[in-house]
Every structure is written in C-alpha cells, then in structure tokens.
C-alpha cells in the first residue's frame, strides 16, 4: 500500500517536473536574480567588473529620481485616460451590439479585431496614421480644415496619441466583457420595469449599471494591470519621447537597463513598480468584493 502511494507520488513529481523547471528558469530565477541585482551596482557596459553590494542605494536613487516619478505619473495619466474612455465606450458599444438587430453578431466579431492584433502591429498601424506629412489622420483632418497636428512629435499630443491607439485596441475588451454580462442578465426585471413605465435612462442607471458593476470592476482590474505594464505601442510610436513626454514606468526601466546599462537601478525600479501594482491589485480586489457583496446581500 505504502509502496503504491510513494510510487504514485513519484510519477506525479515526474509529470510536474517540466512545468516546474520551465517556471523556475523563465520566472522564478530571473525574478530572484533581479532582486539580487537590485541591491548591487552592475554596469552592463563593463560586464567583467564585479557586482558590488550597494545596499538600498539603487532604491533610494529610483525613488528620489525625478525621471522615475515623472514616469510613474505619466503611467497613471495614461491609465486614467485610456481606462475611463474604454469603460464608457465599451459599455456604450456593448449596449448597442446586444440589441436584437440583424447583423449584430457580425458587427460584434468585427469589433473584436483590434484586440486580436499584436500591440507592435497596432503601433505600426497608428504610426502610419499619425505620420506628420503622409499620415491619413492629418489628411482627413485637413479636409475639414483642421491641422496639421503633430501627433507623435509634440509633447502636448504624444500621450494623447498613444492613448487613442490603446483605446482603439482595448475598447473591444470592455465591449466583449460587458456584452457577455448584459446577455446573462435576466430579462424579467426589464419587463417589469417596462410595465411599470420606468424610463430607459432610469432602467439603465438603476437596473443595468448596478448589475454590471462587478463585471466592469473585474475588467478594469485586468486592464489596469496590463495598462501599468504598457510598453510595445509606446516603443513603436514614440520610444518614450518627445523629450520624456511618453516615458512610462516600463520604458524608464528599459532605458535605465539597456540604454544606460545600469542594471541594478533598472532592477530596483522593477521591484518598486511590482510593489505599486500589488497595491493597485489589492485595492481593486477590495472594491470588487464590496460590489459583489452589495449585489448578493
């Protein structure tokens, strides 16, 4: 009996091993290495100089650096711009595409396309659209007498331009999640409201929206994590510029590590952003739990 149990356990371990190895090599080891590195001075341009222990100096540098705080602020600005518009647009479009009208299934599928494109490609597509002289966007704006707008080359517009590209790509995510939630709502309360004569706005405000709230918060939660890590679109469109107008946290880390070769500072910045994102997640979880409890109670 004992023999069989230990044999089963051994087989289970053998099956688990590949996953554990991959996880260790690709995630756990790099993370531990980065943590180790964040307490050391390591110049990648001089790789043979020993990595000296510097205590929390890297962390102090990151937290007291104007550039990091600016990147953090830019990240949050971009998150606020994109997430707020994505929620409103996503819910609005979801309300439209869940109407029982012919062709809505096709429209819904078409609207999902941006989400399926790789962010680098999205960046390239928008690069063409934003291009100062040859871009379509300025061409169309010129037809109505506007512009030209220096979309990605002016500090005033660059962050907005990135936000627009991100909104274009990720609004379908909110649309899809909200549409699924809308379709799972029971139709009877709506019929009851129809008989009672409640206005469409009241029905949306007091019946639909409160029931969608947990779903919207979940979607926001998933998107917020992603938005905090935004990298590819910005790298393709502006590389963090002009000046540092679009330098978000991930670009700051990239610049420290692979432009200035200061791996220790880059690693410390990564851990600071990890802590921030953890706080963010905790906050979202709390509010999600609250809104779900409000529905259940």
């Amino acid at each position: 009996m004992n023999h069989t149990v230990s044999r089963d356990r051994r087989i289970a371990l053998v099956f688990l091993l590949p996953a554990v190895v991959i996880l260790f090599v690709t995630t756990i080891y790099p993370m531990l290495y980065a943590l180790w590195l964040s307490f050391r001075s390591y110049d990648l341009s001089k790789p043979f100089i020993p990595r000296v222990f510097v205590g929390v100096a890297n962390y102090v540098e990151v937290l007291s650096s104007q550039a990091f705080l600016h990147a953090l602020l830019t990240t949050f600005k971009l998150m606020a711009m994109t997430l707020s518009v994505q929620v409103v647009l996503g819910v609005g479009i979801a309300l439209l595409v869940t109407q029982k009208l012919p062709g809505m299934a096709v429209v819904r599928t078409l609207l999902l396309i941006p989400m399926m494109i790789s962010p680098v490609i999205v960046g390239l597509v928008w690069l063409f659209l934003y291009f100062p002289e040859l871009g379509y966007l300025n061409y169309f704006l010129s037809l109505v007498g506007i512009g030209p707008v220096a979309w990605i080359t002016s500090t005033g517009w660059a962050l907005t331009a990135i936000a627009i590209a991100d909104i274009w790509q990720w609004t379908p995510f909110f649309m899809m999640g909200t549409a699924a939630a809308l379709q799972s709502l029971s139709p009877e309360p709506y019929e009851a409201a129809r008989i009672d004569g409640n206005s469409r706005f009241d029905v949306f405000r007091y019946i639909t929206l409160p029931q969608l709230k947990p779903v919207i918060i979940s979607l926001l939660f998933l998107r917020a994590i992603d938005a905090f890590k935004i990298y590819d679109i910005i790298f393709v469109l502006t590389k963090g510029g002009p000046a540092d107008a679009t330098e978000v946290i991930s670009l700051y880390i990239y610049r420290q590590s692979f432009t200035f070769w200061r791996m220790g500072v880059g690693a410390a910045a990564s851990f600071v952003s990890l802590i921030i994102i953890t706080i963010l997640i905790t906050f979202f979880f709390k509010s999600l739990q609250r809104s779900q409890a409000a529905l259940a109670r």
Binding site: E188, P189, R194, I195, G197, R297
Partner: protein, 359 residues
C-alpha cells in the same frame, strides 16, 4: 377595477401561429385563470394582455378601451412574474419605490402605499432586505407588493407559484386568494396547475394548442367537461376512459366493452345508433366498491392499492382495461383480490370517440 376583453386575438411569430383567434370576456373584479399544458399559448396570451408581446390580429380591450397599440405602462396593469423579476441589488422598499417612480407621486403617498402593501402582505420586517436574503415565498410576496403599490386596474400573474415548494405554494396561494378578496381587482392568472386553478378561479379558461377548449366555473369544468381533453386535464387522478360500442339489446341501447356494459342514458338515446364508438369517462371518485352481486356492478381485479391516509387509490383491471378508483381508506381491499365495483350513474360522461366532444 376593470374588465378585459379579447376578440379574435391571434399571435403569430413569422409564419407560425401560436394563438388562434381567442375570444374571452373577463368581468370587472373577476379572478380568471388561464389553464393548460406547456405550449398551449396561455403565457403568450397573458403577455399580449400585458403588452409585452404584440397582437398579430384581433382586438384587446381593457376597461372598454382598445389597447392593442397602447404601451404596457399605459394599460393600468401590473404583473407578477414566475421568477419574481425583483431588482436584485435593491432592497424590498427600493423595489417598490422604483415601481412607483414613473408615477411621480409625493413622498408621503409613496410611503403610504408601501406601508399599506407591506402591512397587507406581512413585509414590514423585510423592507430593508435584498431579494437574495429572502425565501422564495417572501420574494413572491414582494413581487405582489410591488405590483400592488401601483394600484393597477388589472393584475396579471404568470405562474407565480411554480418556483415554490409544495408547502409554500399552498400558503402563497391562500395569500393570493385573500388579496383578491380584499382588493377586488380583476385578475388574470396563468398556471399549468389545476389545483391552483380550481382553488383560486371564479372562471377557468382551459387552453390547448393556442385554442380555448372550455371556459367555465371550476364546478362547470369539473362536472361537465366539454371534451376529452378537458375531462382528462381537470381532476386528479384523471378521469378513467373506456372505449365502448353502442349495441342494440333486448331492453334498449347498451354501451358495451367486453366484459361489461352500461345502458345508454335516456337523454342520449336519440343521438346514438348501434355501431357508434363512444368513450365513456368515469372519475375515480365516482367508482365505489359494491356488495357482491349488486345490480349494475362489475367484477374487477385489484392490481395495486395506494394508501393515501384518508383515502386510497385502487388500480383495477377488467380484462385488459385498467382503471383507477378512489375509495375511503377504511374500505380498501387487499391487492390481487376480485371485487365488485359500481360506477355512479350520475358521474358517467359520454364522448364521441372520433371528435372527442361530449355527447
């Protein structure tokens, strides 16, 4: 209070017609039950009255006003749904308030109506709770209160008890009856449960396949079913049916089904001629155990005895014909015994075997 009239009301979904020109008069203050099996069109009919489904053809009047194209909110109706249709994130009080919102009443009036409805339905201690914190019966009472606060002219109930367990069903049924007695509002009530229909209705409308089969008081539909469908649908256990042939005997016409026969009652003599196929219907409660050799009794074999406390159901057999009798539990025989049974002559129903219509 208000009357409801349906004139040749038809419902079609594309090519498919599901309600075929029904006519129905619901008097002011009456409690009318639409009764029928699943898919008979009863809920569709109710939803047409509510305005949740359009009327394909015909005319619907509420309080002598044609309302075919009137929005649900302007029909002065209130509806109670099968799964309560409460707003899950609102408290009991908010549910009622939201129903009243479009009427733009003064706060005092809203409070008065909610207090009144909660008192009648015993919801006062529950006003601050949300639907998820209530039992099924309580939720259904909230749904009724929400309908009540609007003081509608007609109450529509769509299978309001079918999500409740048997005990609660009896309890809420009684509450609905009391509520109707108290308010006197016209009620149109849909159910597939004949006990609900029999206990609540002033008038039962029995539907099948989008047609009305019979309209009548509970007594009428039980005692004088117009056809085989109504006869077997109403009554539990359902009516026993025997296929009989009219035969000429020495003393007059007989309905025969080997090995037993019954004389054709005099009112039917002129309608029947030898050779005609007739279905004889006898309710289990119209069959009793007779003394051996009692005139008009037959021998039957007891297959199974189902003891129900006060009474017992006997599964009997004459030849290959099986039927059920409902007798006092104290008089029940033991299984596998031969007994004499007697059909109460006043409880015999005769139907044309081909058309299924009562003779």
């Amino acid at each position: 209070m208000s009357s409801v009239t349906l004139r040749n009301v038809v419902k079609r979904y594309g090519q498919l017609e599901v309600v075929h020109g029904i006519n129905l008069e619901i008097d002011e203050g009456a409690f009318v039950v639409l009764l029928g099996p699943s898919g008979c069109g009863k809920t569709t009919t109710l939803r047409m009255v509510a305005g949740l489904e359009s009327i394909s053809d015909g005319q619907l009047e509420i309080a002598s006003r044609v309302v075919n194209d009137v929005a649900p909110k302007d029909r002065q109706i209130a509806m109670v749904f099968q799964n309560y249709a409460l707003y899950p994130h609102m408290t009991v009080r908010q549910n009622m308030e939201f129903a009243l919102k479009p009427q733009k009443l003064a706060d005092g009036e809203v409070d008065r109506r909610i207090t009144e409805a909660s008192r009648i339905l015993g919801l006062e201690p529950l006003l601050a709770r949300k639907p998820a914190q209530l039992s099924g019966g309580q939720r259904q009472r909230v749904a009724m209160a929400r309908a009540m606060v609007r003081t509608p002219k007609v109450f529509l109930f769509d299978e309001p008890l079918s999500n409740l367990d048997a005990k609660l069903r009896t309890q809420v049924r009684l509450e609905i009856a009391k509520l109707h007695k108290r308010l006197g509002t016209t009620v149109l009530y849909v159910t597939h449960d004949q006990i609900e229909a029999m206990t609540l209705a002033d008038k039962i409308v029995i539907m099948k396949d989008g047609h009305i089969e019979q309209v009548g008081s509970p007594e009428e539909v039980f005692a004088s079913p117009k056809n085989l469908f109504v006869a077997t649908f109403i009554g539990s256990p359902s009516m026993n049916l025997f296929q009989m042939t009219v035969e000429q005997a020495e003393l007059g016409l007989l309905l025969t089904s080997q090995p037993f026969s019954v004389p054709v009652p005099s009112p039917l003599l002129s309608k029947l001629s030898p050779g005609r196929q007739v279905t004889l219907g006898v309710r289990p409660s119209d069959i009793r155990i007779a003394a051996k050799g009692e005139p008009g009794s037959f021998e039957a074999r007891v297959d199974v005895v189902e003891y129900l406390g006060i009474e017992a159901l006997l599964n009997l057999r004459i030849g290959s014909q099986e039927f059920i009798a409902q007798v006092a539990a104290a008089e029940r025989p033991v299984p596998d015994q031969d007994v004499s049974v007697f059909f109460n002559p006043a409880g015999l129903h005769f139907f044309d075997s081909q058309s299924g219509q009562a003779l």
